[in-house]
């Protein structure tokens, strides 16, 4: 079995190959490398520290058990991210958090209050440090419902097309489009508001 220091200089590909042969030390190195990314994605979706930790760990265990199926079409971390994302979706579904109540649903269909507001002219990314922008996005996303945040994560962060988002969330493409529109407009308003607060 390879020593920890050998593992730290090895590529993901070679660690994956070794892990596929049952080398847990190689797998441990992969976990150490990408654990923050997986945890961050889980947190983006469930917005709860303990749940995000549990779901990310469950994803690693699942990844290990399915490792032989990984053929390297995508990068290892992309593959693992999809696993944690699916677990988060299942988790939200079990807790019925992807449903919207009737008022929210009506809001979605009509585009929400944000629809009536004039377009926000402030560019949220202009003249701001990346870390600060990320912190503001985090703050804004915290104010979205689970259903709206999930659409945003799947489309904007995971880069899935409308039909793929609809399939994963178990809803129609029209609902995805409405939710995405609502979520984007809300984010624009929230980020614009945060920028104004910073200026004041």
């Amino acid at each position: 079995m390879a020593h920890k220091s050998d593992n730290s200089s090895a590529s993901d590909q070679s660690l994956v190959r070794r892990a596929q042969r049952g080398d847990t030390a190689a797998f441990e190195e992969l976990v150490a490398r990408h654990r923050d990314k997986l945890y961050a994605r889980a947190f983006s979706m469930v917005r709860n520290e303990d749940e995000a930790i549990d779901l990310s760990q469950e994803a690693w265990v699942k990844g290990w058990r399915r490792l032989k199926q990984f053929q390297g079409e995508a990068s290892f971390v992309t593959w693992m991210t999809r696993i944690v994302m699916n677990l988060c979706l299942d988790h939200l579904r079990k807790q019925k958090r992807l449903r919207t109540d009737s008022i929210e649903q009506m809001d979605e269909e009509l585009g929400g209050v944000e629809r009536q507001m004039p377009a926000v002219s402030v560019n949220p990314a202009a003249g701001i440090e990346r870390a600060e922008l990320r912190a503001q996005i985090d703050q804004a996303m915290n104010q979205l419902t689970d259903a709206h945040r999930t659409v945003l994560v799947l489309h904007e962060f995971e880069g899935l097309e409308y039909k793929e988002v609809a399939k994963r969330m178990g809803c129609s493409i029209g609902t995805v489009m409405s939710r995405l529109f609502y979520a984007r407009r809300r984010i624009a308003v929230l980020l614009g508001g945060l920028r104004e607060e910073l200026k004041a």
Binding site: T24, E28, R35, R41, R130, R134, A135, I137, V153
Partner: protein, 155 residues
Amino acid sequence: MNHQAELRLQAWLDGELPPGGAQAVAAWVQRDPEAAALARELGATKTALLGNEPERALPESREFYWSKIERELAPAEAPAPAHGRPAWLRGWVKFLAPAGILVILALLLFGPMLRSHHRPTLASTAEVESPLDDISSFTFDSESEGMTVIWVNTE
């Protein structure tokens, strides 16, 4: 602007419209300032979000986090029992053992019933001939009916 038009505008920004539809929306955005303003806002939000998923460091040490994962990996890694049977045979044994127990139980429960079913019927009962020359008789014994019938012919 109605909501359907807004959604079409958004789909155009996301590259989800077919070429013909995309050209029509692009032309509309060119001539309608309200549509142009909405397109700018949606585009800016999309750009701000792109590649800016909030980062978050795991609030657990490497060792502690891994130890919980490792515990879950252990059962899958447990060495196979040393009975030396090939994997396919172990699979069959796993299936056949409970099936065998069921068969034995079924035999114990239904065996006596089956035996009683196969007891000789009246028709197949043995015929006993009387040794007397002038009296002929036939005896039928049926265990299942619990009786014995004797015909005596004195003619």
